[in-house]
């Protein structure tokens, strides 16, 4: 007994005699040589929130890429205010004028000449002190001169000059450096020893 016959025996439903042969032929005809091709233009169903791509673009500009390579074209963002650069010369000129001491300019310009002149002047002053001691008053700053020598040297110098008491008194009067107690005394009445003692006191006062 064939398979077909057995099935038709069990089912109460019946098909035409050639139905299954026709069905097989029909299915094969529909599928053979007719592969599926996806048609163009099918739209995806996804959507994004409004403004999403604009925001993404801005973010991408800030952080150009994960592997960033620094080019040599990025400019400085700094700007000077309008007219500022042109105003610098005048500003600096004013600052320099305020700060510049005319004596410094004179010193800068004539440094060598001033050094030589000062040296000559110093030598001349010391020369006057040693070789023209009787003319004390010609020295500009007696206090400084006296402080530079010790008492013994000065006493020896004064003794060598053979000065009278009045000459010594005159010299000290001109210095205006005596104490008030001694200024009113009559130097003519003092002995040489008293005078030397007074000189000692004056030197101590000067040093202090």
């Amino acid at each position: 007994m064939s398979h077909k016959e057995s099935n038709s025996d069990k089912n109460t439903f019946k098909v035409s005699e050639k139905y299954f042969e026709e069905l097989e032929k029909s299915i094969l005809a529909k599928t053979q040589g007719n592969e599926y091709h996806l048609p163009m233009g099918i739209e995806h169903p996804f959507t994004v929130p409004a403004g999403y791509f604009e925001a993404l673009e801005k973010t991408a500009q800030k952080i150009p890429s994960i592997a960033f390579h620094l080019t040599n074209e990025i400019a400085l963002p700094y700007r000077a205010p309008d007219g500022y650069i042109d105003s610098i010369d005048e500003k600096i000129d004013q600052r320099i004028s305020k700060q510049t001491n005319p004596f410094i300019i004179l010193w800068k310009k004539n440094q060598r000449m001033i050094s030589i002149a000062a040296s000559v002047l110093l030598i001349a002053l010391f020369g006057l002190l040693y070789f023209n001691g009787s003319n004390y008053s010609s020295l500009g700053d007696q206090d400084i001169s006296l402080q530079e020598f010790d008492t013994e040297t000065l006493v020896a110098y004064l003794e060598d000059q053979d000065l009278s008491s009045s000459e010594i008194a005159t010299a000290f009067d001109e210095q205006e450096s005596f104490t008030s107690e001694t200024s009113s005394e009559n130097f003519e009445e003092l002995t040489d020893e008293d005078l030397l003692q007074l000189i000692d006191i004056q030197l101590v006062n000067d040093i202090q």
Binding site: P77, A80, I88, I96, K109
Partner: protein, 182 residues
């Protein structure tokens, strides 16, 4: 004869120093302004530092010996003046020279004024530079923006060329990391 050579020649004669100084101001004011601006960021601070730098240049004209290029001598004075200015302010706020929160604030507040352009990438680069340690920041600015050679930067900063190269490459790498988001 180039301007720099003319100035150098005038500087050999003390009586011509005022003329030489006027030429220095005219020739270098803009370059020194932006050199200082990159260090102190704010325009008003830059103006103060620039004036101080020029006063210092004036006072030291007789010390320029001509054995280095004039502009490297000027850049050195201006850079030192800017760093001294920052150091004083950082000391007052107990900040290290390698941290710049106050400069980042100045940059951000300045971006709302006409003194800083609104270019996003330029601003991002400046913020990244302000995160570098002091030495790397100075070297990077001079190399990247001023296009100076390592030898010239070495004269200005009195640092070895090898040290400068190491600092520049470290700076560049760090900036790329910051801008790359890593």
């Amino acid at each position: 004869m180039k301007k720099e050579e003319q100035i150098a020649e005038l500087l050999t004669d003390v009586s011509k120093h005022p003329e030489a100084f006027r030429m220095i101001v005219a020739e270098y004011k803009e370059r020194l302004y932006f050199l200082i601006r990159k260090i102190v960021i704010d325009h008003d601070d830059t103006d103060d530092v620039l004036q101080e730098a020029f006063v210092k240049i004036w006072k030291n004209l007789d010390k320029y010996r001509g054995d280095s290029k004039l502009y490297t001598w000027l850049y050195r004075i201006a850079t030192n003046e800017a760093l001294t200015f920052l150091r004083r302010r950082k000391d007052a706020h107990n900040l290290s020279m390698d941290e710049n929160p106050e400069l980042i604030n100045l940059l951000e507040s300045g971006s709302r004024t006409e003194h800083i352009s609104g270019d996003d990438i330029a601003m991002a680069l400046q913020k990244a530079i302000l995160q570098l340690p002091e030495k790397q920041r100075i070297v990077f600015n001079m190399k990247y923006f001023e296009h100076l050679t390592y030898e010239e930067i070495s004269e200005i900063t009195e640092t070895s060329v090898g040290g400068l190269k190491a600092n520049y490459h470290a700076a560049r790498k760090k900036i790329e990391q910051i801008l790359g988001g890593n």
